[in-house]
């Protein structure tokens, strides 16, 4: 366990670590473009240079192994001068188009420029122009003028996603990041991670391009519901204080983009997770119905209560998209009356990657494990419910009402608008993940919390409070 000194302060290091790793682990900020904790060392940006005490030159900290009593300075005169020179060079051909750049506001180059350089370019010569709006894949657009050739994206496709689909072509200051000719980058299910990895605004998400300035957005911690992996993500949506009052008010409740949070497998998510909006931007159900007739929500709840009270052999099909809290509420308040079966709400769509060796799981529901922990029995597609079942409570999607026993009454709780809802005896619209908080348990048993992004619309109910009101109205009846 060597001990090293950074700017005079001692830090414990593990042998085999680099100075950069020790610094980052202890909250010492050494700037870096090409270095990334999850990728191999490239050492090409040179901005992480530090000075070893007693030497008159600088060396890069990302490739400097720790040795006992190594003393490095991160803010000496020559380090400051050197960083300044590197930023002069990095920005030499970098367009000053921050005003229209998607990365603006969260750009490492912008930050470092203001922190370590702050002066205009000393070059008198025109900037070298390069390709703009190069389509690396339908999802990713590349602006080569902004690219600082840190090669994080190249290393990502070689080391993490393993598609080996990006590389550098040409030489010198005409070097370009390009996809392999077989188009493997378009088939890389993790390709969108390069947008987060890019320290500047070179790699852009085509879906997010020019959609919003990032400072109008705020991230809400959430969990990707796309599969049983349950990656922790940030959902970016418009800040309430920047609410749009006219035009495109829809944007106020839109998920503009999704970025990964720190996960045990690293800060990566798959492309399906980036398309979180496709999970939630579907026609919503806003109207409670009783036998196909629109009714007030409380009327529908009363009708549902009557059905539950009158049932002799009711079944519930539990949603694997329900949070642990909702599941617990149901179990505590209503479960003793029901035979509970956990169903898969969502199956893989055509063209959606089924399963791979990295992150994507075959189970396309976020909380199957959490649901099974509380209700051990599963319902599988094609499994017939017993003929004497006289009430089916369908919670969430994934169950065709036509397959319910012919004489059974049906209650459907769902967030989405479907024509089949009208055929249910009672339909009550639910809130969705972005409108409530909760936790999911992923297939490994890891519990991750999500928070509400938007207030719940009045027309829909939270499952937790719905169960409470269903239980409240039934309990006194049972006490009589």
């Amino acid at each position: 366990m060597p001990r090293i000194f950074i700017d005079g302060k001692p830090y414990e290091a593990k042998s085999g670590q680099t100075v950069m790793e020790v610094a980052r682990a202890n909250g010492v900020d050494i700037p870096a473009f090409c270095w990334h904790p999850e990728l191999s060392i490239a050492g090409n940006c040179r901005v992480c240079a530090v000075q070893v005490e007693g030497r008159s030159w600088v060396e890069i900290s990302c490739n400097m192994p720790v040795t006992e009593d190594l003393k490095v300075l991160t803010d000496s005169d020559i380090v400051r001068d050197y960083r300044k020179s590197i930023l002069q060079l990095t920005t030499l051909n970098h367009p000053v188009d921050c005003g229209i750049c998607d990365k603006s506001g969260e750009c490492s180059l912008q930050d470092y420029h203001y922190e370590h350089n702050g002066t205009p370019s000393i070059s008198r010569d025109a900037k070298v122009h390069s390709t703009k709006f190069h389509k690396l894949s339908p999802r990713i657009t590349l602006d080569n003028e902004r690219c600082i050739l840190c090669t994080r994206c190249v290393r990502f496709t070689h080391e993490v996603s393993k598609s080996k689909s990006l590389g550098v072509v040409q030489r010198g200051d005409t070097s370009l990041i390009r996809g392999s000719e077989d188009g493997a980058f378009a088939r890389d299910d993790y390709s969108d991670n390069v947008v987060d990895l890019c320290p500047v605004g070179a790699l852009l998400s085509t879906a997010f391009l020019y959609r919003s300035r990032v400072w109008y957005l705020k991230p809400t911690p959430s969990v990707c519901p796309g599969c049983a992996r349950g990656c922790a993500v940030d959902l970016w949506h418009r800040k309430p204080e920047w609410k749009l009052h006219a035009l495109e008010a829809r944007k106020n409740v839109a998920i503009e983009r999704v970025t990964p949070r720190e996960n045990p497998h690293g800060p990566w998510i798959c492309n399906k997770g980036r398309d979180y909006a496709s999970f939630v931007e579907r026609p919503r159900a806003w109207q409670a119905m009783s036998a196909g007739t629109p009714v007030a929500t409380h009327t529908a709840i009363d009708a549902a209560r009557l059905l539950i009270e009158g049932a002799r052999n009711p079944f519930v099909l539990v949603s694997s998209w329900a949070s642990n809290e909702e599941l617990a509420a149901f179990r505590n308040l209503l479960a003793e009356r029901f035979t509970a079966l956990v169903k898969a709400d969502r199956l893989a769509q055509p063209g959606e990657p089924m399963e791979d060796a990295f992150l994507i799981r075959a189970d396309k529901n976020p909380n199957t494990r959490g649901a099974l922990a509380q209700f051990p029995n599963e319902w599988e597609i094609g499994m017939a419910l017993p003929a004497d079942c006289d009430l089916v409570l369908v919670w969430g999607e994934g169950f065709d009402l036509a397959s319910a026993p012919p004489k059974a009454r049906t209650i459907v709780l769902d967030a989405w608008d479907k024509p089949t809802h009208a055929t249910a005896d009672v339909f009550i619209p639910l809130s969705i993940q972005t409108e409530r908080a909760g936790t999911y348990t992923n297939f490994e048993g890891r519990v991750t919390a999500f928070e509400a992004c938007f207030p719940k619309p009045d027309a829909v109910v939270d499952a937790e409070s719905l169960f409470a009101s269903l239980a409240r109205s039934t309990l006194p009846a049972a006490a009589e």
Binding site: N44, R46, N63, L92, S123, R124, V128, V168, G172, S175
Partner: protein, 433 residues
């Protein structure tokens, strides 16, 4: 004074002198036999260390010390690679060896492979070399047919295979780690040190990369002993050097020189001086990455590393370019910077951006649009590159620029002020003048 020593160019070049039969008639493939029959690998390395031979590729690092890092008992494969990617402008000495003494290289590589216990050795040859490539592959076929490669040698269990690999013509692949990356089939990017290549080189295994000329000296060192080698040259840089001389010189070509002789004698007596009897304005002594030596300095120093170091230069890779009086140094630097800009691999920031920047500045000066601060800017960018890049190319370009700017700064000032060259601006040397 004794006749100059001849260690490499010690035979008459004839149309058949590169063939195996002639080489063996000259005593070829006896050194490897001597090494295997009478010496342990460690003893070979010790002999090379004792001889004091330095790398001939430009860095002048002791070959024996480089070898000494390899642990023969570490249980992993070791690799040996001859760097025949002779891309330094002005340098064409290895070409002479590859064309005229390919078996000398092949035998010497066997010695090195034996010392380092290498099963597979490589020659990375630059793609532009045509005759050298044909000669070395033909020689290798002869050596395989004669049983020097691919079979256990002289009753020992030492076997070595050799693969000749052609580069695709990149300057940076002459840098040892870039060479190995290219040899692995990847983009020829130099690698970060640490780890050194002798710790993790080709395919992440300990690898020694030596220049062709360095390796070619080994047969002689084993045959004649380290002391005979040390007896030539100077104390610090023993042995002879192949120097390829070109530019404004009457007898351009490859010469074997013994360091320590007066520089002037070499230029004017051996190489016949400058055409038209003009004066020497300056000489690039060892490839364009070494700093220029002015004509006045040439008159007073000896041709060896130590004396060249006193004027801030060195023997480098032995690629000497003579520049006659009347040559415009601004345009000369333009040519050099265009080369560095073109050959920068683009991996690390200072070189990738700096080379292009310097090239654009010098282009602007030559176009008559220079400003006084440009000279300072060129020096500044050179300094930003010095020691701050993954490989030495950024430094080298900086040295070239700094060397010329330090000794011929007034020409740049004149060009910027008057928007035209102080000299006639004609890089060609007219014999009639």
């Amino acid at each position: 004074m004794n006749a100059p020593a001849r260690l490499l160019m010690n035979f008459e070049v004839t149309p058949a002198s590169h063939l195996l039969a002639e080489y063996q008639a000259r005593g070829g493939y006896q050194a490897i036999e001597k090494a295997i029959r009478t010496m342990t690998p460690k003893q070979v390395t010790d002999t090379v260390t004792t001889s004091g031979i330095q790398g001939r590729g430009g860095a002048n690092f002791s070959a024996g010390r480089k070898w000494g890092v390899i642990n023969l008992n570490d249980g992993q494969p070791h690799y040996l690679c001859a760097n025949a990617d002779e891309g330094e402008p002005g340098t064409f000495k290895d070409r002479w060896i590859l064309e005229n003494a390919p078996h000398l290289l092949l035998e010497s590589m066997l010695i090195a492979a034996y010392a380092l216990q290498v099963r597979h050795a490589f020659i990375y040859i630059r793609g532009e070399f045509d005759l050298p490539y044909r000669r070395i592959t033909a020689a290798l076929e002869e050596a395989y047919a004669a049983g020097f490669y691919g079979k256990p040698l002289f009753g020992s269990d030492f076997t070595c295979d050799l693969i000749v690999y052609r580069g695709a013509g990149s300057y940076i692949c002459g840098e040892a780690s870039g060479l190995l990356t290219s040899l692995e089939g990847k983009r020829g990017y130099p690698r970060n040190r640490p780890p050194r290549l002798t710790v993790r080189g080709l395919y992440q295994k300990p690898t020694v990369v030596n220049n062709v000329e360095t390796l070619s000296n080994l047969a002689g060192i084993i045959n004649n002993g380290p002391d005979a080698f040390k007896a030539t040259g100077t104390k610090k840089s023993p042995g002879t050097r192949l120097v390829s001389i070109s530019g404004h010189i009457n007898k351009p070509g490859v010469y074997e020189v013994e360091p320590g002789r007066p520089f002037r004698e070499f230029i004017f007596d051996t190489c016949g001086g400058v055409p038209g009897g003009r004066k020497v304005k300056c000489i690039i002594p060892g490839g364009i990455s070494t700093k220029v030596v002015t004509g006045e300095e040439v008159d007073r120093i000896r041709l060896d590393n130590e004396d060249l170091a006193t004027v801030g230069s060195g023997m480098g890779s032995g690629g000497m370019v003579v520049i006659a009086e009347g040559t415009c140094m601004v345009r000369l630097l333009q040519v050099l910077l265009r080369f560095y800009h073109h050959e920068s691999c683009g991996q690390c920031t200072p070189c990738r951006e700096g080379m292009g920047w310097m090239h654009r500045i010098i282009d602007r000066i030559v176009a008559g649009q220079g400003v006084p601060e440009d000279i300072e800017r060129l020096k500044q960018i050179s300094a930003w590159n010095d020691g701050n890049t993954i490989c030495g190319m950024g430094d080298a370009a900086g040295y070239a620029a700094l060397g010329i700017l330090a000794k011929f700064g007034h020409e740049f000032e004149h060009y910027i002020t008057h928007k035209r060259s102080l000299c006639d601006g004609n890089l060609e040397c007219r014999a009639s003048s």
